[in-house]
């Protein structure tokens, strides 16, 4: 258990880069009478890079113990990072060309989020493989410093640089799913498109005979493509403009051949109002039609099934996409209802998955559907069959409405005031006032969206003006809380509750709840944590500054 350092070859690499930069720099200055700036700049960049390499080698130490991994680095600014062994999710190594020629590897140790990983740049190849083996997830505290490769190599997974991401999520029960995949033999035989989290091996036809044998793992169909969905997904504001980009592309593509599409259009329809209306009358329905066709091609034979603890989506006409989501990774579900189609009760449904990169990763579980059917489907999509998204929500205090209307009014006013001191034409500065008739109704809509509650195992929050998002997150998925209180919120006794989670978009919010509601929310979702935040400060300690100023803080 000693502090180790990076490979000495990092120094050689640094010295090589240093020498090369000096040579380039010399040529840059001495070659002609005037300095050749690209060469000089390249040399300066090389010098900085080389000294960064050297100082990194000089200052970096790392330590691997059975419980944790530590790294110290930095010279001007010192950094010391500790990661517990059982938090490590992935270990992989990589190398760029020149370091690889020198036998160097960069080892990346990931503990979930991209930024929390740390990087050992660089180690000797053998050392890198040893570190990878030592840190293989699941071999945590049991490993007692087995440095001899002979002992570990038999149990270690292929020590190739691709150990990552396969360990990032608890392995889903994939094999039964892949064998039971083709429910109807004629379809879904096209290869799964790459890039999506497709079933591991493309389902071969021979396996169909096996399905009868494994009836306990039978698929239950949750949803198939329904005809009304086509219209719900085609009639949206973006579809009306769907043709703009292709038309521009076509215009520029035809220009070299002497065809000016825009001029032709002008000649055909004229440039007056009638012509524009005519163009819109053709283009907008065409846009909807294109969107409808695109949706049908994308979602041909859309099918959402549950089998053996996983949800499987299959869809697509030309390329069949198969997406698999293990129930173990499900942490909640969310609806997103756009403002324009709120009256039609149209919603998009998203699944909150943990262990996937933020934003992407199979979150979109259903296309736009009617709210009623989305609710029924959501109950089947969630493994526990709960219906948290229908829970009655607690209203936020009236002050939240006042605050939103305040924003709606004073943002344009401030914008106008900010424009005043600048030398602009006189009619420019009042322009922001035109926004007020739009922002005030939006403020009211935003307030009406607000709501939160805890129902059984789920924490539910809702907000949003242009898109109303209702999010139901499992209580166990809550990592931590942040309570924020601005000056005005402090006077009015409100706060904004931030919910940190590893699933979905990584953080959700219950804006502008009363302090009471905030504490109730935390108490109901994470009973263990609320005691930390409410227990009275210890009176035994004589740490008077803490206690006396505690009064100050809560008084102001």
């Amino acid at each position: 258990m000693t502090w180790r350092r990076l490979s000495i070859r990092v120094v050689y690499l640094g010295l090589i880069r240093l020498a090369m930069s000096l040579v380039t720099g010399y040529f840059g200055v001495a070659w002609r009478d005037d300095p050749v700036w690209p060469l000089v700049l390249g040399a300066v960049g090389g010098l900085i890079g080389a000294s960064a390499d050297l100082s990194r080698w000089q200052t970096t130490r790392f330590l691997i113990t059975p419980e944790r991994v530590e790294m110290r680095t930095g010279w001007i600014s010192r950094k010391h990072r500790t990661v517990a062994r059982d938090r490590i999710r992935s270990v992989d190594s990589s190398a760029r060309l020149i370091p690889r020629l020198l036998g160097l590897r960069t080892v990346n140790i990931g503990s979930g989020d991209a930024e929390t990983s740390f990087q050992l740049d660089s180690l000797d190849r053998g050392e890198a493989e040893r570190v990878q083996r030592e840190l293989m997830p699941g071999r945590g505290s049991a490993v007692s410093a087995t440095f001899s490769p002979a002992v570990t190599s038999s149990t270690a997974a292929p020590a190739s640089p691709a150990v990552t991401s396969s360990t990032a999520a608890p392995a889903s029960p994939a094999s039964p799913a892949s064998t039971a995949a083709p429910a109807s033999p004629g379809e879904a035989s096209a290869p799964a498109s790459p890039g999506e989290a497709s079933a591991p091996s493309a389902p071969p036809h021979e396996d169909i005979s096996d399905i009868s044998g494994m009836s306990d793992e039978a698929e239950t169909v949750i949803a198939r493509l329904r005809r009304p969905w086509i219209w719900l997904n085609a009639f949206r504001i973006e579809s009306a403009f769907a043709l703009i980009a292709p038309v521009f592309a076509l215009h520029w593509a035809l220009r070299p051949f002497g065809v000016d599409l825009f001029r032709t259009a002008r000649d055909l329809f004229g440039t007056d109002l009638r012509g524009i209306v005519l163009i819109l009358l053709i283009a907008v329905p065409l846009g909807f039609a294109v969107a409808a066709v695109a949706f049908v091609i994308d979602n041909w034979n859309f099918e959402l099934v549950r089998t053996g603890g996983a949800l499987i989506t299959r869809k697509g006409l030309f390329t069949t996409t198969t997406v698999q989501r293990s129930d173990e990774r499900t942490r909640g579900i969310a609806f997103a209802e756009p403002l324009l189609t709120r009256r039609l009760r149209v919603t998009k449904t998203k699944l909150l998955l943990t262990g996937s990169a933020a934003g992407e990763g199979g979150g979109d579980i259903l296309p736009r559907t009617r709210l009623e059917e989305a609710r029924d489907l959501a109950a089947q999509i969630l493994p526990d069959g709960a219906r948290p998204l229908e829970a009655p929500l607690r209203r936020h205090p009236r002050g939240a409405l006042v605050r939103r209307i305040g924003w709606a009014v004073y943002t344009p006013v401030l914008l106008a005031a900010a424009l005043l001191p600048f030398p602009l034409p006189g009619w420019v500065w009042p322009l922001p006032f035109l926004l007020i008739p739009v922002t005030v109704p939006l403020a009211a809509i935003a307030y009406r969206s607000l709501g939160h509650t805890v129902q059984d195992d789920y924490l539910v929050v809702r907000d949003g003006a242009l898109t109303r998002r209702t999010v139901a997150l499992q209580n166990r998925a809550v990592i931590g809380w942040s309570l924020e209180q601005s000056l005005f919120q402090r006077w009015a006794g409100r706060m904004t509750v931030g919910i940190a989670t590893a699933a979905g978009s990584r953080s959700y919010e219950a804006p502008d709840v009363s302090v009471d509601q905030a504490m109730t929310l935390i108490a109901e979702a994470t009973p263990g944590l609320i005691s930390v935040m409410t227990e009275p400060p210890a009176t035994s300690s004589a740490a008077s500054p803490a206690v006396s100023s505690a009064g100050e803080v809560s008084a102001c």
Partner: protein
């Protein structure tokens, strides 16, 4: 004062007193750099004066307030503590922010000592989680306190089972 419901209690430990000095010097340095750069633009490029001038004045006022009020105000507000169950911190000046993360959700523990912090014997402790919203940063703890706290956190974290997600 209306009888509003009680806020979450403040965490127990205050920051080191040198925090005020550190943040004052830090803000002064930033103010000099930013105002200096903008001032140079204003001075040398006459065309830009009507545009840069108002920005310069507003920024000067903002920095003056920051240097005069912000560090000591923050010092009065900021509190932190680490227990066997959780890391709990209160930060901010105009806007207050309470943050709490249970030990079982901690992914990594960092101590960082910047050049200026080293001059004042201070350190920054950062606790990271699987969500950046859950990360807690405690700036301006004395280096010795930080080392103690991090050592303790390290022990507690290693013995607390959890996959941190």
């Amino acid at each position: 004062m209306n009888n509003s419901p009680p806020l979450p209690r403040p965490p127990r430990r205050p920051l080191d007193r040198r925090f005020v000095l550190w943040r004052t010097v830090d803000t002064l340095i930033w103010a000099t750099v930013v105002l200096g750069a903008l001032g140079a633009v204003w001075f040398f490029a006459e065309v830009t004066r009507p545009w840069v001038g108002p920005v310069l004045i507003v920024l000067a006022v903002v920095y003056a307030v920051h240097v005069a009020v912000m560090p000591s105000w923050r010092y009065r507000v900021h509190r932190w503590e680490t227990t066997d169950d959780a890391v709990y911190a209160l930060t901010g000046w105009l806007t207050h922010k309470w943050q709490i993360v249970p030990i079982s959700r901690i992914q990594s523990i960092d101590t960082e000592i910047g050049p200026l912090q080293r001059m004042f014997g201070l350190a920054t402790i950062t606790v990271t989680t699987a969500s950046s919203e859950g990360n807690i940063e405690i700036e301006g703890v004395s280096a010795a306190d930080a080392a103690d706290a991090v050592d303790r956190l390290r022990e507690v974290t290693a013995t607390t089972v959890g996959d941190a997600t």
